[in-house]
Amino acid sequence: MTKDEVENGRDDMLIDGPEQANAVPDGFNANYLRIYYGKLFPHADIFKWMSYGNDGKHPACDKSYIGRREFSFTLENDIYIRFQSFNSASELENSIKEKCPFKIDIGPVYSVDPAKRHAYAQSGDNVFTPVERELVFDIDITDYDDVRYCCTGADVCLVCWPLMTIAIKVIDTALRDDFGFNHILWVYSGRRGVHCWVCDGKARRLTNEQRAAIADYFHLYKGNENSNKKISLPGPVLHPFLARSYTEVLKGFFEAKLLSNQNLLSSEERYEKILEMIPDAVAAELRGRWQENKRSSVLKNDINAVRWEQLKHTLQSGKQKAQGLRRCVEEIVFSFTYPRLDMEVSKHMNHLLKAPFCVHPKTGRVCVPIDPNNCDEFDPTKVPTLSQLLEELNRGGLRQGAENEWDRTSLGESVTFFRSSFLHPLLKSCKEEIESSYNTKLQQAKNALSW
């Protein structure tokens, strides 16, 4: 088995030979993807998910449902094709295997099959318009560039990744406890962020206006390099949602991790950013103290924690009590840690979002689900890559016609998790919903008929 043959991705890799024979060089290309789509990508699971129970045998199942869902493919050479739709699992699978898209996006469910959209006028009674769509969120770590000093742009490391972790915690808790949603899937975006799919029926049927309201509920960070105050928390106390987020997640993370990891108060350049957020008189006092201490090397490691305590003490002590000071500490913590969502993604039903289990072209990493209950353990640098998975396939040896190839690779864990904590509970609930609405309709019809 030559290196060339390995790179060309031929299936008949029989040899249980030395490590080099199984080794797959790092990379992202059509050949690798072909094998991935051939053996690893969970086509059937995605299809079952998107069907939301309508692929069953119950008389109330809407057979047209899955065919009205839009998928879009980005092919090699950036060719982009929209409004793809499929009526069966095999159609979906064959199309993906044949076209080998570099990226798959999922759009809304429309009123009619997107392939037939041109037959319908834009206005009037027969309209081609979205009717259902998951409530989705997109969090990207580049939106935090002004508060992380370890990386910029597309880079992400274990020092700044926890910002994503706490975003997941805050949003996930609110979605469940406040909004009452249950079927929530968090996915690693493959490089520098996370996506969230809320799949309850109620969520899928939300209007754009309602989605905007939910996005605004989460929208706290308002500002950019042109304004000073990015987060404003008026009022004597915080709304329960903000208070809970602060006490359960943000405060602890800021004080225990972020302060020291990002050295937020250790140098003048850094602490000035925080001093800008508090009233001038207090800032001046602290500035004076810290400039003096610059030369002393006492407790160098803990300088951030020490200064933070000083800041809090000065703000909350009796000397300069004013309305504006009460929320200063929280505002600082929120500015640095509170989730920053891409509002536009969540507000519109027709926004397309990358499908889970795609492979990111720039990193080769698979977009795997993240368990919100264990998100502290998630390590983006350990997510399986395309080449790694192919190597694992090689090592496993050839098994003709084996159903679950992913089982003998690192992807197995992710697919299992996807099924057990998300897909199966979701489908169970969908089945119940379909049956109960059917029974209600039957009952109504019976009542209408009775004399």
Binding site: S123, D143, N228, P236, L238, P240
Partner: protein, 452 residues
Amino acid sequence: MQVVGYHRKSSSNDVVVSTLPLYRSAPPLEVRLEDFELFAMDRLRVLKGISDGLSRGKKPEEMEKLVMDLWKASMRHPQATEDVNKDNISHFVLRLVYCRTEELRKWFLSMETALFRYRFHVESSQAQRALMSEFNLPYKAVSNAEFESVEDKLRQVARSMGQTLPIADAIFYKVPFEEVPELVAGHRVFIHKGHAYVAMNQVVSLVVTQFRSHLSKALILTNRKWTFTIREQEKDRLTPIVEALCTSYLGPDYSQPKDFAEISIKDIDQIAKTSFPLCMRHLFEKVREDHHLKHGGRMQLGLFLKGVGLKVDDALAFWKAEFAQKVGAERFDKEYAYNIRHNYGREGKRTDYTPYSCQKVILSTPGVGDHHGCPYRHFSEENLRAALARMGVGSRIVEDVIDKARNRHYQLACTLTFEAGHGSSCDAGVNHPNQYFIESQKILQSKNGSVA
């Protein structure tokens, strides 16, 4: 805790009748042609006043007073009994005027909903109850037991808004959160497991959502009727009135630059310095500096330039020259050119998008990495001073401008800047960036006799 917990006993058996109409259907009245137009213009004055107030960032209490003053000034009929008729007639005439495009519908819907909201709020709670029942809202009042279980959270929400809950007689309704989007978005209700706990004084929101939804659907139907029947039928009588009513108040939309020479890219840097309002100048400088702008900025500046007279090919050349330095020519063609052509109506739906008015600019919210929006609203005082200094505004006037901005009179601040920069007054006040540009060019051209 009861739903009916009044402290005052009504002294008479009079039925409480609200004069707030719901506009469910057009009244079967005869209207004089004269009144058709006049009533509509009076109402439009009120709606425009609301629009201005909102874009100046007035607080709800201020808006309420403003609305009542506007209504008193414009909508009173000489015969008091005719008030309700004028109310109804003017609303339905304006439906005809504002049903015709998506943008018009959006504006009308927003203003009528706001109008309804403030008028509803000042009604007595009996009248409010009566109106509520007309909407058939099936929401239950929260039981005593449940109230106690969430009481501390409800108090926390009230306190967070600077209010206090009455110790007894606090009435709350439990409604699905989707029914009160505004309250949820503004953190003005406690929500738990998908239900919002709405206070009696917030009931307004429930009713307003219903009002809005009903009007939204009605406008679509009206549009259909207008397009297919009325417009043709009335082409010698009502149609000309309807069409004139719209443009006379919203002002020109600046989508078709007419009055002067088109601008070419070689002139752009110069005219940016002399004739662009601060919002566009800031965006323009950022493009030159960063060779990039995020979507909000591209829209705001791009459409402004279109209104200024930049043709589509020149626009593509301008954006490409900048963006190519950051992302490369190929990526520009692939990812950005389409949207520019889209703005000029050359792609997709082929809608010819109109440049943003000051109201629209002011109401947008720039986020991380954004530079659009109104600088008088979003810039910190320090940054605003620096920007004004760079525009050559004298320090005494800068103080005036800062003062206006601090008091949320963003358009007045911009007008002062204009007047300082051009040495002449702008009586109409700035309400559209393209208007700023045109006025500026007029003044400079009359001084120099050429594009300055």
